[in-house]
Symmetry: C2
Subunit: 124 residues, 2 copies
DNA sequence: GCATATAGTATCAAGAAGGATACTGTCATG
DNA sequence: CATGACAGTATCCTTCTTGATACTATATGC
């Protein structure tokens, strides 16, 4: 999904599928969104939940998703800095997608890796 | 989604999301799968439906999805060659994901591009 | 005989994505 | 005074993905 990202929506049938995927593709985006479903998070909170994502990449992905209107970024004029990330209304509309992905993954991840521990969001 | 593809399923919570995405990410996979929802297709039929996908890329994506067990490849010992691609049972379980993506895309693509013509699959 | 269709492969090159590491400034804590 | 937390930046480097193009073999139709 390299080139397409924010440019090519030339709309062959099926491209709405691609359009949607284009927004959540990017190595960390889907995970970040998934975590944000649980509520607002600060930069380093996300970092801790999304292990081995470097700050550079995290900033990167967050900025892209902000530009796409999926999340909001709220800066508090404080020191030390405080920045909160949350799903926008648009971002929240992706929940069915995220959930479909999660459900599929939970059902089939045995094929590719080891199963997960319990995740609180599954109760929702 | 470069590195992860078929290697890293180290399962932080949320990684089942990533696992699922890892399989349909790849510039053309989701579109190909979407088209295969309508039924079996031959190589060049897919090519024609997925415009500007070079044969190299198409082979590529099809082979990866075959390796992931999402599609089946049936070769007829004929000349000229005939090869049919179809969703496997596993592939069919991805329909909810594909549909969620399509629904979201249809609802929101206005934000990023122009709307689509009618697609027969929407009637299903 | 020539073009066309089939299902690809081979080779080369470009560009983008991602990773590693170090660094910023200010405040509170020890 | 030194350290850590916060939210990032900056720089460099490697790898992956993707694109463009040309090519394969055989059978059929013209």
């Amino acid at each position: 999904m390299a080139k397409a990202r924010h440019s090519r929506f030339d709309c062959t049938p099926g491209c709405s599928v691609e359009a949607a995927i284009g927004l959540i593709d990017g190595k960390w985006k889907s995970i970040i969104l998934w975590h944000l479903l649980s509520g607002t998070l600060r930069f380093n909170e996300i970092r801790r939940q999304v292990e081995n994502c470097t700050p550079r990449m995290l900033t990167n992905q967050l900025r892209e998703m902000e530009a796409d209107g999926l999340i909001t970024r709220k800066v508090y004029a404080q020191v030390p800095p405080k920045v909160e990330y949350a799903l926008s209304d648009l971002g929240r509309t992706m929940e069915p997608i995220l959930r479909a992905l999660k459900d599929w993954g939970d059902a089939n991840i045995g094929l590719y890796g080891k199963p997960l521990g319990h995740d609180p969001r599954d109760a929702a």
